[in-house]
Symmetry: C2
Subunit: 308 residues, 2 copies
C-alpha cells in the first residue's frame, strides 16, 4: 500500500497591501494529510480529525478532496486517492486552513505518482481546492503554503517568490471567533474609486521595494492596507485596539490576516514579534475575546512530505 503524509503550513493572505495577490507562510501551525494511492479511479475523503465543526466529506465539496480530483487528471489511468486530514488550523480563522489542507493533500498525493507533476500543476490544483471551500479561486494562501516565505500568487502562471529581510518575524494572533470568508467577502461588495487603488498600489510598490532592500523604514511606509482593512475592520471586535497595540509594541505594520479575524504584525526580530503578539492578545482580551498567539520567522518553509 503506497502511502505518504505531508504537512502544509498556515499562511497570512493579502499581507495588508496585496489583496488576493500576496501571501506569507507561517512556521508552526498547519494541516497534515495522509494520502493512500488506490486503484479506485476516484478520490475518497476518509476522515477529518482535529476539527470541532463538521467539514464536508464529499470529495468535490472538500478542499483537499477537490484538489486531489484535479491531480488525478495527471495520474495514471485508474488511479485513485484516499485522504485523511489532521487539521491543525482552526476553521474561519483567516490563517489559510482550507489552503493548507488542499496543499498538504496534493504534496502527499504527488509523492505517490510515478511521474510527479510540476509546481504549476500543483498550484492550479490547489486553487481548485480553495474554490471548493471559499467559493472563489484565489492563490494568496495556497501559494505560500506550497512554496513557503512571501509569495506573489497570480491567477495564471507560477507563483513568484519575494525575498524578506533575514531579521523579519511575524506575530499572528487568532481570536476565538469565527469570521466566515463569505461574510468577509460580502463586506467588500460595491464599487471603488480609482484614487483608492492609487493609494493602495503606492503602498504595495513601496512595500515590495522594502522587501527587496530589507529596508525597515520602507516597510513601515508600505505595510498599510487602505483599501480592504477599513471595510473589514468592523467585523472584528477590538480590531483598532489590537492593531494599535502591535504598533505601540514597535511593529512595522499590522493588519487583518486573510479574511480575518486573525491579525498579523511584521516585526524586527523575534523579541519584538513576541512583544507584539502579547500586546495583541491582551487587546483582544480587553475586547472580551480569548486569543492564541504564534510567532514565526518571515521566511517560513513551505509544504513537505513528512513520512512515506
Amino acid at each position: 500500500m503506497k502511502q505518504a503524509k505531508a504537512f502544509a503550513p498556515a499562511s497570512v493572505g493579502n499581507v495588508a497591501v496585496g489583496f488576493d495577490v500576496l501571501g506569507q507562510a507561517l512556521d508552526g501551525p498547519g494541516d497534515t494529510a495522509t494520502v493512500t494511492l488506490m486503484s479506485s479511479g476516484v478520490v475518497v475523503v476518509k476522515a477529518i480529525r482535529g476539527c470541532p465543526h463538521a467539514l464536508p466529506l464529499e470529495a468535490a465539496a472538500n478542499t483537499a478532496g477537490r484538489a486531489l480530483q484535479s491531480l488525478l487528471a495527471h495520474a495514471p489511468e485508474g488511479a485513485g486517492f484516499e485522504v485523511e486530514l489532521d487539521k491543525g488550523i482552526a476553521l474561519g480563522s483567516g490563517m489559510g486552513g482550507s489552503a493548507a489542507s488542499a496543499v498538504a493533500a496534493l504534496v502527499a498525493g504527488n509523492a505517490l505518482l510515478p511521474t510527479p507533476v510540476s509546481l504549476s500543476v500543483l498550484y492550479q490544483a490547489a486553487m481548485d481546492g480553495e474554490a471548493a471551500a471559499s467559493g472563489s479561486r484565489h492563490g494568496d494562501n495556497v501559494a505560500p503554503s506550497l512554496l513557503g516565505g512571501l509569495v506573489i500568487a497570480p491567477a495564471e502562471g507560477e507563483p513568484v517568490r519575494v525575498p524578506v529581510p533575514s531579521w523579519l518575524f511575524v506575530a499572528l494572533v487568532h481570536p476565538h471567533a469565527v469570521l466566515e470568508t463569505k461574510r468577509a467577502r460580502a463586506a467588500l461588495a460595491g464599487s471603488y474609486a480609482l484614487s483608492e487603488f492609487v493609494h493602495q498600489s503606492e503602498r504595495l510598490a513601496v512595500f515590495l521595494a522594502g522587501c527587496h532592500a530589507a529596508d525597515a523604514a520602507l516597510l513601515r511606509r508600505g505595510l498599510e492596507d487602505v483599501l480592504v482593512e477599513p471595510r473589514r475592520a468592523p467585523l472584528i471586535p477590538g480590531f483598532a485596539e489590537v492593531k494599535a497595540a502591535a504598533l505601540r509594541a514597535g511593529a512595522l505594520g499590522a493588519s487583518i490576516s486573510g479574511a480575518g479575524p486573525s491579525v498579523f504584525a511584521w516585526c524586527e526580530g523575534r523579541a519584538q514579534a513576541q512583544a507584539a503578539a502579547d500586546a495583541m492578545v491582551a487587546a483582544f482580551g480587553a475586547a472580551g475575546l480569548k486569543a492564541d498567539a504564534f510567532v514565526s520567522v518571515g521566511a517560513a518553509p513551505g509544504a513537505r512530505v513528512v513520512a512515506r
Copy 2:
C-alpha cells in the same frame, strides 16, 4: 548676477502598471530652465521658448513659476527668482513636459540658494508646480525627472528608486496629436470593481519582482495595464495597432506614456528598442499620424545643473 541653468528629462508616467505611482526618465528630450536669483521677493516667468502654443506667464499658473514659488518659502527673506524656459518637450504629448519644466526650474533655483533644500522639499515643490499645470497633484513625472531611472512616486515622503535591468531600453513614440491631460483624466471617471484592482496589482507586483531580478519573463508577464489603458486607448488613433507592432518587434510590453498620446515599449537591448520604435512610427503612420521616436536607456539620468 547669480544665474544657473538646469536640464530636466522627459519621462514616462504610470509605466503601464503604476497609475500615478510609477515613472521613468527618458534620455534625450527634456526642458531647460535658466533661473536668476533676484531681490524682488517674487517669482517672474520672463520667457518661454520652443513652444508653439501659449503657456501662462503668470507665475502661479505656470508649472515652473508655481514650483519656484514653493521653493521661495525656503529661500532667504526677500529673495526672488526670474525664470526663462526652453521647452524641448511637446505640450500634451504624455512625456511629462510640465513636470520637466518644474523640475528644471527647481534644480536651477536650488543651486542658487545659500543652503540648498533637500530632495524631499524639491519633490513636494515640483508636485505643486505639476498641480498648477494639470489640476492634480501627482508625482509620477516629477519624481523620475528629478531622480532619473524608474521611481515610485508617493504622495507623501521621498520617492523610492527601483532598479532596472542593465539591458533595458525604452522606445517612445510621440504622434503629432495633442491629448489634453484633463480629457485623458475624464476618461477614467466612474467607479471600479475590486477585481480590476486585483488583476492590476498582481501585474504591478510581478513587474516589480521582474525589475529587481532583471528577469525578462517576469517583466513580460507584469508589464500590462488592465485598468487604465482600456479606458484611454480609444482616445489615441491607432493605439491597438501601435501596441501590437511593438510586441511583434519583440518588446516585453507596451502601453500609453502618461496621459498619452505617446506610446512606450520596454525592450531587451537598444536594437530591439529601435525596431519597436520604427514599427510603432509606421503603425501611427498607417493611422494617419506623423510621429517622432526616441530610444533611451532604461536607467536614464535625472535633472542636473548644466551651467552657472
